[in-house]
């Protein structure tokens, strides 16, 4: 037998060890240091097999070390003392090659123009920069922190003509919100958009709600558990760092993975197998969200082979904040106070790394950017911040995200000036240099602006809850950022150069619309529609996600109204989640999302429009008021230095503008993650690149006046009528019907925003009037799949006639396939009691709708075309195929 020890690498956060150290001390015993490890015994394995097992299964080299045989150390190393040494970088003397090499090898990931700008600046100052100065600029100018590409100058040519953008985001996404707010006038319910760490909108007379969704893709690719863990931990700090601090009330998590059945031999070096990624990501979100006591109520998972090596992990958080606490202002003379976790080497270069493309070397190159979070540290931080907020013990707060202190202090002091005393920051272990302290992305830290008159009370409060709070500097009205370590000055930059000195990024963007091809019909596709429904229900995207959902606490905080799983057996797929953030009130918020990477290859304009429509109809389906829905954009794209890739993004942004304005649905916050590509070399040393499909996530935050009016998607009562609302078109392009039958071509679903607006309003009126017993939106899989889900969720059968469906499709032999499986937007299925039928039809008068059938007690799904049965199945069979794939 051989013993194998798996330990976290020194410096990687070890929450259990932290708690244990405290517990040992509490028992009056002494312990110098604690580390946890896993110990496994093996027999009959040769070294090679053992090595493979260790790397593929037991440990992840990004954060863990494997020791075969007895542990080689007598005591646990705690780092060696740091001797100060000022490091200056000979920048002025470098030629262009030198600048490029420095940017690459120093992991600054700055363009040559940017390096030249920095060089010119320091030549002007007649000195070379210190490493801290260079790092500070790199962090501040990173794609992650400044979104320089999308906020940059873009010359765009596409099917919608040529456009010159001076700031693409401002002229599309932001502009839409601006116009909507102008139209709303005095009724404007947006409070703060694209300004703070999260968008803020009005909730009721006392509170506002805030919403932010972030991505943590590259860390999750290298270490799925830690990446997702710190992803959710990070986005929770966004609402907490918004205004004077919002109380997190709900999480939403959306993932994109390669299919779990990807053959191991097809997984390139440097990439983890999708199954390992999925299990790691889900556990990471579970352990952090559950420990924080924040219900994870909404989410989605999409599968595509192109997410291999570069999965997408979207983590979102909704917060509740008193209206009077929605704004903040750091003040000259205030202390810069760091609270929460200590600073270590964690995540160094995360900000710049997340702007870089992943390669099969990333694992070793950027390992330092990967880390583990400690949810309890953040929960303590959360408790103390809200208490201090309500006692008025600080003037401003922000989170330490990418870039660590460097970004947090830089942003907070942008209009004032700051002096930071780096040697005062509490560190996890000895040996950190001033620069490491400055750019470390150690988790669970916030930075506050605390007035000298507030400090004592603030510090006492933190102490009483066991939270470390330390003065690390002062905001001073100099317009400069000065860093000191002891008596040594290690950086002195003007805020002006830091925030205004970056040369604008100028990019070409081209979008060539792929030629529309007819759907490649084949005989099998139309042979047996019952089998097709079953297949789609059992496909990765549509299949039940209960294995994931049940591992998340979606009830904590006691406000759950519409749960992610609904119906007679609590296992039907809800369209959106509804929670009551104020327990004494029946006013609620609805949280939903829309995304469809399958449409990206057809036209990113319609992909974006469809995503917005889906997010909206999900909210409307549960009873949210369409006139009060705010949305977020998260663009995850490939390398936008390719004009075609950037073009497909601009095309999507233009759609966002068009649809948002037409619907009167404002964007209030957003984020982009570019360079989502994975580069690797195959066995013969040939280099390959896998670029993800253009992926736009739209997250929606709706509002419900009285949650007792909400509806769920499960069928309720035999005899009730079933209505189909919205017209069906020949739009099978990118559909799940096309997917399961391997059919290329076809028309991608489009959105008619004007008609959508009317439809959403009419649907809301009907639901608010209490006329609808069940409502489900039509999305992946179209009509047949939506009806099947409603039926097996409710435990009642359904019989409908597709020939009655409102439609506008040119007669062809496959008309039935189109009616059953087309994914046309803005459609709903509604269960309406006979006595409410006329009132329902009256409210829907202006909208395409038809009574297509009724709820039965037969526990069968029967779909006819006129007289002829086209789908006939036992609900139990349909449900079984839907439950099976991800029942892990």
């Amino acid at each position: 037998w051989r013993a194998v020890h798996v330990l976290l690498k020194p410096g990687v956060t070890d929450p259990v060890a932290q708690s244990t150290t405290a517990a040992i001390a509490d028992m009056g015993l002494e312990a110098e240091a604690v580390r946890t490890l896993r110990k496994v015994w093996f027999a009959g394995l040769d070294d090679a097999a053992l090595a493979t097992l260790c790397t593929k299964l037991l440990a992840n080299d990004a954060i863990e070390q494997v020791i075969v045989g007895p542990l080689p150390f007598a005591r646990l190393e705690l780092g060696s003392p740091y001797e100060f040494r000022l490091v200056t970088v000979p920048l002025r003397s470098l030629d262009d090659d030198g600048l490029a090499r420095l940017s690459r090898e120093g992991q600054l990931y700055l363009s040559l123009t940017e390096m030249q700008t920095i060089q010119a600046h320091f030549r002007q100052l007649d000195r070379d920069p210190t490493d801290a100065e260079l790092e500070t600029v790199a962090q501040t100018w990173s794609e992650h922190c400044s979104h320089k590409t999308l906020a940059g100058r873009i010359a765009y040519r596409g099917p919608d003509g040529a456009r010159e953008f001076r700031n693409m985001l401002k002229e599309t996404i932001f502009a839409a919100t601006g116009e909507i707010r102008k139209t709303l006038g005095d009724d404007d319910w947006c409070v703060s958009v694209f300004a703070d760490n999260a968008g803020i909108i009005r909730f009721d007379d006392d509170y506002n709600v805030v919403f932010k969704v972030e991505t943590h893709n590259h860390p999750s690719a290298l270490e799925p558990y830690g990446g997702a863990n710190t992803g959710i931990g990070g986005v929770i700090r966004d609402p907490l760092g918004t205004g004077m601090g919002a109380k997190p009330i709900a999480n939403t998590d959306v993932f994109c993975f390669a299919p779990p059945d990807t053959p191991p031999e097809e997984v390139p070096a440097g990439a983890l197998h999708p199954r390992r990624v999925i299990k790691g990501v889900v556990s990471g979100v579970r352990d952090y969200g559950n420990r924080m006591g924040i219900p994870t109520v909404n989410g989605a998972i999409y599968f595509d082979p192109r997410y291999l090596g570069n999965p997408l992990v979207f983590c979102g958080n909704v917060g509740l904040i008193p209206r009077s606490q929605s704004f903040k202002e750091a003040r000259a003379g205030d202390y810069i106070v760091a609270i929460g976790g200590r600073t270590g080497r964690d995540g160094i270069h995360g900000a710049t790394f997340s702007s870089a493309e992943l390669t099969h070397h990333s694992e070793s190159l950027s390992g330092g950017a990967v880390q583990i979070g400690n949810a309890i540290t953040e929960k303590m931080l959360l408790d103390v911040v809200l208490a201090a907020r309500d006692r008025g013990l600080y003037h401003a707060i922000t989170d330490c995200g990418a870039g660590g202190f460097s970004s947090a202090v830089g942003e907070m002091g942008e209009t004032i000036g700051a002096e930071v005393w780096l040697d005062r920051a509490p560190v996890k272990y000895k040996g950190l240099s001033y620069t490491e302290i400055w750019i470390s992305e150690a988790q669970e830290r916030m930075v506050l602006s605390v007035g000298p008159d507030q400090w004592q009370a603030f510090s006492d409060l933190c102490q009483s809850e066991g939270v470390e709070a330390t003065i690390i500097g002062k905001f001073v009205p100099t317009g400069r950022l000065k860093l000191k370590y002891g008596d040594h000055e290690v950086a002195d930059l003007t805020m002006e150069f830091l925030h205004g000195g970056r040369p604008p990024v100028v990019r070409e963007a081209v979008y060539d619309l792929p030629a529309e091809r007819a759907l490649e019909w084949n005989a099998a596709a139309t042979a047996d529609f019952t089998e097709t429904v079953t297949k789609i229900l059992g496909s990765w995207n549509v299949a039940s996600k209960h294995w994931v959902i049940r591992q998340y606490d979606h009830e904590v905080q006691g406000g759950s109204v519409i749960k992610p799983l609904v119906g007679v057996n609590n296992d039907g797929p809800s369209d959106a989640a509804v929670v009551r953030p104020v327990l004494a009130s029946r006013r609620g918020i609805a949280i939903a999302c829309g995304m469809n990477p399958c449409y990206a290859d057809f036209d990113t304009y319609h992909m974006a429009a469809s995503a917005i429509d889906e997010a909206m109809r999900n909210c409307v389906a549960v009873g949210a008021d369409p006139a009060r829905i705010a949305i977020l954009d998260n663009f995850c794209w490939g390398n936008t230095e390719r004009p075609q890739t950037l073009g497909s993004l601009v095309r999507a942004a233009i759609a966002c503008y068009d649809v948002a304005v037409a619907l009167g649905t404002p964007f209030i916050s957003g984020k982009d993650s570019l360079n989502n590509e994975f580069r690797y070399e195959d066995a013969d040393g040939r280099s390959h690149t896998i670029a993800i499909p253009a992926s736009l996530l739209i997250s929606a935050l709706g509002q419900v006046d009285d949650v007792a009016r909400c509806v769920t998607m499960d069928l309720k009562q035999p005899g009730n009528l079933i209505y189909l609302v919205g017209a069906t078109y020949d739009e099978l392009g990118g559909s799940h019907f096309a997917r399961v039958h391997g059919l290329g071509g076809g028309r991608v679903p489009k959105v008619d925003p004007q008609r959508a607006k009317v439809t959403f309003a009419a649907m809301h009126a009907a639901i608010a009037a209490g006329l609808v017993r069940a409502c489900h939106d039509l999305s992946e899989g179209g009509l047949a799949v939506a009806l099947a889900e409603m039926a097996f969720a409710g435990g009642w059968g359904a019989t409908i006639d597709v020939a009655k469906a409102p439609q506008s499709i040119d007669a062809n032999q496959a008309a039935e396939a189109v009616l059953l499986f087309s994914e046309s937007n803005t459609r709903f299925l509604c269960e309406v009691p006979a006595e409410s039928a006329s009132a329902f039809e009256h409210l829907l008068a202006g909208v395409a709708h038809a009574r297509v059938g009724q709820v039965t007690d037969a526990s069968r799904l029967e779909i006819l075309s006129g007289e002829r049965p086209v789908v006939s199945a036992e609900l139990s069979a349909l449900k079984a195929s839907w439950l099976a794939p991800l029942d892990w």
């Binding site: 929450p15 309890i376 303590m380 609904v566």
Partner: protein, 265 residues
């Protein structure tokens, strides 16, 4: 007597304290949330309260074992005042993590001389954290908290909730003393003797608890621990099926808190 005072004990990682405070307020109690550090500074203050409630969450991250570290703190630093609290005929309720803490600290059932517990809450049979609603039956009239309640529908949300008694005699004594007060499933009859195994199938028994035990009380009936979350079923719109029927006046969980508060009225 006036409004009973309830001390909700929160520790780093406790996260159900606010909704528990709300549930107690709905039941007519006067709840205050105390950080454990405050109580460690002034243990005597506990005497000012009639009810002690340890809420759900992940005290100290559940590191080492669920409830272990806070359990140790109670045992090392608060044993005496907790003993007096019990002796004074007052009530102690532990929900989810609070149940784990009461067991590990010996407040609910006495520990053996070697400090091992007579029973524990082990990892779920499914091996993972699970959030789901389960049917529950009150299987004994001994506990103050469940007086007059026959059955409830409440959510569980935990990774370590599988009730495992040390041995059959222990289970037998709990059973004969009526200390097994809450069980998973719908079958009210304690068709004992209870076996050292689950009799209700997953997922109705969500964690594989032996004898389907969801909650127990001490020999007095005034100290009680349960894994399900009554504070998560106060408003009727929390019931997973509320859209399928007409709204009742209140959620099943409210009665538990009303019983506790009513005990002092």
């Amino acid at each position: 007597m006036a409004q009973p005072r309830v001390l909700i004990l929160r520790a780093p990682g406790a996260n159900c304290d606010l909704e528990t405070e709300y549930a107690i307020a709905c039941a007519g109690g006067l709840a205050e949330r105390w950080h454990v550090n405050r109580l460690l500074e002034a243990p005597r203050r506990l005497a000012d309260y009639q009810i002690l409630c340890i809420p759900g969450g992940f005290s100290y991250g559940d590191d080492v074992a669920a409830g272990r570290i806070l359990g140790n703190q109670l045992r090392h630093h608060l044993a005496e005042c907790l003993q007096e609290f019990k002796a004074a005929g007052k009530l102690i309720l532990g929900i989810c993590n609070g149940f784990q803490i009461l067991l590990k600290s010996g407040v609910l059932l006495p520990l053996a001389d070697d400090l091992t517990g007579p029973a524990t809450l082990a990892w779920n049979a499914s091996g993972k954290f699970e959030d789901r609603w389960v049917p529950l039956v009150v299987s004994s009239s001994k506990s103050v908290f469940f007086a007059g309640i026959e059955s409830m529908y409440l959510p569980v949300a935990h990774a370590e909730g599988k009730f495992v008694p040390r041995d059959e005699p222990l289970l037998r004594s709990l059973e004969t003393n009526g200390q097994i007060v809450l069980r998973y499933g719908t079958n009210a009859a304690l068709n004992g003797p209870l076996p050292m195994a689950p009799t209700v199938a997953y997922p109705e028994n969500p964690n594989g608890s032996l004898a389907d035990v969801a909650g127990i009380c001490d020999s007095s009936g005034r100290v009680c621990g349960l894994m399900p979350h009554p504070e998560r079923h106060i408003d009727p719109t929390q019931h997973p099926h509320w859209t399928r029927a007409s709204l009742p006046a209140a959620g099943d969980g409210l009665r538990v808190f009303q019983n506790a508060v009513g005990y002092f009225r």
